[in-house]
Subunit: 340 residues, 2 copies
Amino acid sequence: MKIIVDVMGGDNAPLELVKGACRAYEDTGVDLLLVGNKEEIERVAEQEKLDISHFEILDAKETVEMTDDPLMVVRKKTESSMIKGLYALAHGEGDAFVSTGNTGALFTSATLVVRRIKGVKRAGIGTVLPLKNPVLLLDSGANVVVEPEYLETFAVMGSIYMKSIFGIENPRVGLLNNGSEECKGTELQIAAYELLSKNENINFVGNIEGNSLSADTCDVIVTDGFTGNILIKTIEGMGKLLLGSLKDVFMANAKTKISSLLVKKQLGAMKKKFDSSEYGGAPFLGLRKPVIKAHGNSKAKAFASAIKQAVGFAEVGLAEKTVDGIAQLKAGGEKDADAE
Amino acid sequence: MKIIVDVMGGDNAPLELVKGACRAYEDTGVDLLLVGNKEEIERVAEQEKLDISHFEILDAKETVEMTDDPLMVVRKKTESSMIKGLYALAHGEGDAFVSTGNTGALFTSATLVVRRIKGVKRAGIGTVLPLKNPVLLLDSGANVVVEPEYLETFAVMGSIYMKSIFGIENPRVGLLNNGSEECKGTELQIAAYELLSKNENINFVGNIEGNSLSADTCDVIVTDGFTGNILIKTIEGMGKLLLGSLKDVFMANAKTKISSLLVKKQLGAMKKKFDSSEYGGAPFLGLRKPVIKAHGNSKAKAFASAIKQAVGFAEVGLAEKTVDGIAQLKAGGEKDADAE
């Protein structure tokens, strides 16, 4: 088992990412291939007395910036840590790839370099939403416009993910919609509803509305990347707004400050429960090898978690299980022209 | 000034709605025309000793049910309180109409009976979101699929609303989108961005993402009714989830229960701030006369608030101001073929 790690992306590269790699190695003993500017990696390791002697390093002189255009990156930034890392993954030099870099560039490059699983017309970005129960959202932003068939594929891939990674036996799949009746939504949702209902490999629980999503009604929620992005960011914004208001409540006066001390432990647990970073990075689903996007603002601890998450993906054989799941879906009859 | 009031819709008709009408009369002295089953209205009034002697009553034997199909209602349920009330409004027997009935039926019927303002291709349902600042969402569910031009009209109507009703001098208008750059979104958002940027009558502040919406970035947010519905229900669901978790925090043990007593007042104020019913019913914008949808679960107090809101709409001349605003927009050059 070897994880390929891009240590040049995000806000805290390379120091915090190298630190995170060291921590993941200490905790799991997994082999790591660090991709990045070798001189810089060695310089920060020496400066901070980090032991990087167990790691292979793949030197990459370029770095992908947050403002870089995705297609430009894969075509022109071939010496970047992101692209070199993805090629290393595609060529079998490791079992999974983790990066904190530019999401759009990573997604486009991963699709072109690592390639999609046969039968998957679009890969998706999964995000585990910190609600009453963990809910995997697919797609959370990669595919702004989708076809009904993509949503069916997302449902299959999401079910495999929640079963393999979260141990949920028969994951409930919901279709994000503006009402519970099957006639609700745009043409997309109406057609997707029909496909999902007919598919025996999916435990489809019907349309799920924004207010019931948070009430333990499903384990996987499928939608287009536009709506998914609005959903995920609204959840994030509301969490921040309400927790911020709560802070004002407790800081109001001496009495309320005492009150805050009495519930400190429980409040901490509550905040942790609604912290999306607790579930690690965002998996790209539908690719031939696992690729994980860690938060751009990851520090050592969060980055180490994302690396461990990648180990988990590779260990349970998520990509292989997805290959089987999609093959089963396609065996249902649909012809598949563009898999390659 | 006379407000037409449908006392037969929603969960608590007619008793709570008649009570609400009495309360609104006591507070404002406004003339009211109650529409509903006359016998039933008189029976509950006598039973509860409510003084309804100041009210006119328009007898309506039918009631619109929550499961009724919108088009069927306007065509067949012509003896219902909803349709009779809307015709009374259209014929000038009152200045505004308030109903707790089936939203879809009310919206479709209001559009057909009261009719749209010249130049408005689609009316919209506005909802004031209880965020850091009040934000008017348009459309919150009436038009699942929209054209870029509708969003421009929503922006104009929403600005007039927030200026007239909330006293905001130059309301900031945001376009709900999956990123801040102008190239973001589907074809709809890209085209709408261009229209909104070019319009000198709109204080367009650009694309607003789900997480920045809650941080006092705009006063009006425009989107299609599908996304608007997801947004509003997600906000509602997250509020419920987080306030529910907070309850668990305080109920954990004796110490935390004491803590809750110390912040009771501040917590109450916080809950009130995030309670959407504090802003009254949902205004239908773009119609020739004010129509307000009160919550289906409204009790007397909430229904009285919605009636007072209707008084406010009529007093500031919201519909007339919208006529002027749309005329100005159209004078900008766009031809208008289907206004009637």
